[in-house]
Subunit: 340 residues, 2 copies
């Protein structure tokens, strides 16, 4: 065997061993292997993509056995405190809790990468918990796709409660909604925060609104806010839904109301599993995932095409100045794309 | 000249004459030619498409000089009565009023095609008005694109108020919003209708809510509904907007409140033209139009591809049953699409 082919052989073997090791490890719940698998999934390198794909393909039948919960809210609403509090509550009951974050652009609001572990100090030390810091940067769509795959990997590793945190910038909530079973919106008392939820249209798909920091002198105001949200949620109630969305108060810091939040999640799971909505939603999500993936690739292929990149600034200008119709602009671009 | 080439010559000449005639006619405000131009635009025949494209390209610099108003509301809210009332009010003041309809699927709610002219009996007889019945059937996206082009044609024909009516099925409102300057939502008193506006998320982009049928024994209830909407609109107020969206009452049937609606539109036009929002919106719309067009064509090309049509049922099934990852599914489909 030549030196070259021996090296190639060793590399191939090593690759195979790695994937096998990772899969074996993560199915046993080995966090190191779980972390490695997620790193491969998040990697942009072609070789890693292949390995990630192989892992995913092989663990797929082992995933799905969890309740996936999305948690959203404006910065300062107390998302990490709630996750710490709820996560510990669940870990103590024997649940395996994985915490993931969809952070559309970490550069915008620094801190979350620095501090995921320190933010959730107690939870991060609990043997039943696995906290994955936010992926750094990257396109929103990409992060979204990777987070969905990360959920599958965590489930295969035995985690049966997945908490997906997202920082409220609108688009990311829509993406998280499309990968979770239950979506909660964390708010504070005071009109400013209420407006935020409403404006972004997040309220429309929240399965529950949680008014946090309902403690001390704030308790009274929180009750009032709760009533306001109950009214708004009534307005927004979807027709084809057997779930009446509640507004709850809690104090994540003092652990008050956490039990009630979890009861609400279980009630939701029970109701929607009985009605079939739970499974139906997961099917819709899987389908949407496929088509989103296709659309994104189509657009990426098109707009990153050399000829299109060269043509588009001038064509866009002409369309805006009403010197060219959209039909003509489109024709020129597609002729270039298909190499006509 | 052979018989063949003479025929060909005559056909070519006729085609040229037609387009020239149509353009000349419609720029003079000839309704017959305007109707013919719109028919060409709505036609799916390849030859018509070419003519339509030529007309559009040549009249483009003459379009844009109007206020484009979208009117939405549940069936029965009184949209046609309002359009008749508002349209006549404007025609009498010397405005040229064109009425278009975006009817996503005429089959679903019969009647609008039958009755556009009879629904607006007086307006349809006024020399300053042009009413174009709803396009019959067709894909939602297609209708949307044609309606936008129809607006341009009407503007080139001298119409300076364009009323675009849409029947509330959610998606069509979003499309109409993307082609008008001012969007009004017509509602009735009573919780049922209020809910409808909220549920579909239409409230979020309404520039005004009009509570219709505020007459007789209904007048009191309408005032109450008005106050409720004012409150909701306050909740939904967008941050980056200098326009405070009002809730108005009117009786389209008795012509009450129509003057106030028009004053509101003019006030909106003045405010947003001064702030630049008006022109900015039109630019955003033109850009969105281009990119929507590109995306639609990309998806149509992909999903109508023979190989994709054959592959997708099985692949979708495998993804739903979690037997295949989305990445792998996507790879198989794209290899087929690009002929690899």
């Amino acid at each position: 065997m030549s030196k070259f082919s021996r090296n190639k052989f060793m590399m191939e073997t090593q690759r195979e061993e790695n994937v096998d090791q990772i899969i074996e490890g993560l199915l046993k719940g080995d966090r190191m292997m779980l972390s490695r698998a997620i790193t491969l999934i998040e990697s942009q390198a072609g070789r890693h993509k292949k390995q990630a794909e192989e892992i995913l393909q092989r663990i797929m039948t082992r995933s799905g056995n969890s309740i996936r919960i999305g948690i959203s809210g404006v910065p300062g609403a107390g998302k990490s405190t709630l996750i710490e509090s709820l996560g510990l509550h669940l870990c103590k009951q024997g649940y395996q809790v994985a915490v993931l974050a969809v952070d559309p652009s970490s550069a915008v609001h620094g801190g979350s990468i620095l501090g995921d572990k320190t933010r959730m100090e107690q939870l991060s030390k609990h043997p039943n918990a696995f906290i994955r810091p936010s992926p750094s940067g990257g396109r929103l769509g990409g992060v979204h796709l990777r987070t969905r795959e990360t959920i599958f990997i965590c489930e295969a590793a035995g985690y049966n409660v997945i908490l997906v945190e997202t920082v409220g910038v609108g688009q990311s909530e829509v993406m998280v909604r499309d990968m979770v079973d239950f979506f909660m919106l964390l708010v504070l008392t005071g009109a400013g925060d209420e407006l935020q939820g409403m404006k972004k249209g997040i309220m429309e798909f929240a399965d529950a609104v949680i008014i946090n920091k309902a403690d001390g002198p704030n308790a009274e105001a929180a009750k009032k806010t709760q009533r306001e949200y109950q009214q708004i949620l009534q307005f927004l109630q979807p027709a084809a839904n057997d779930w009446v969305r509640p507004a709850l108060t809690c104090s994540a810091l003092y652990g008050e109301g956490i039990e009630q939040i979890w009861k609400t999640v279980l009630e939701f799971e029970k109701t929607t599993k009985e009605s079939g909505l739970f499974y139906n939603n997961r099917n819709i999500q899987a389908k949407a995932w496929l088509y989103t993936n296709i659309r994104e690739k189509l657009e990426t292929d098109f707009f990153s095409h050399e000829k299109i990149k060269n043509l588009i600034p001038d064509i866009e200008k002409k369309v805006l100045e009403e010197k060219m119709t959209v039909t003509k602009a489109s024709k020129i671009l597609f002729n270039a794309f298909y190499g006509k």
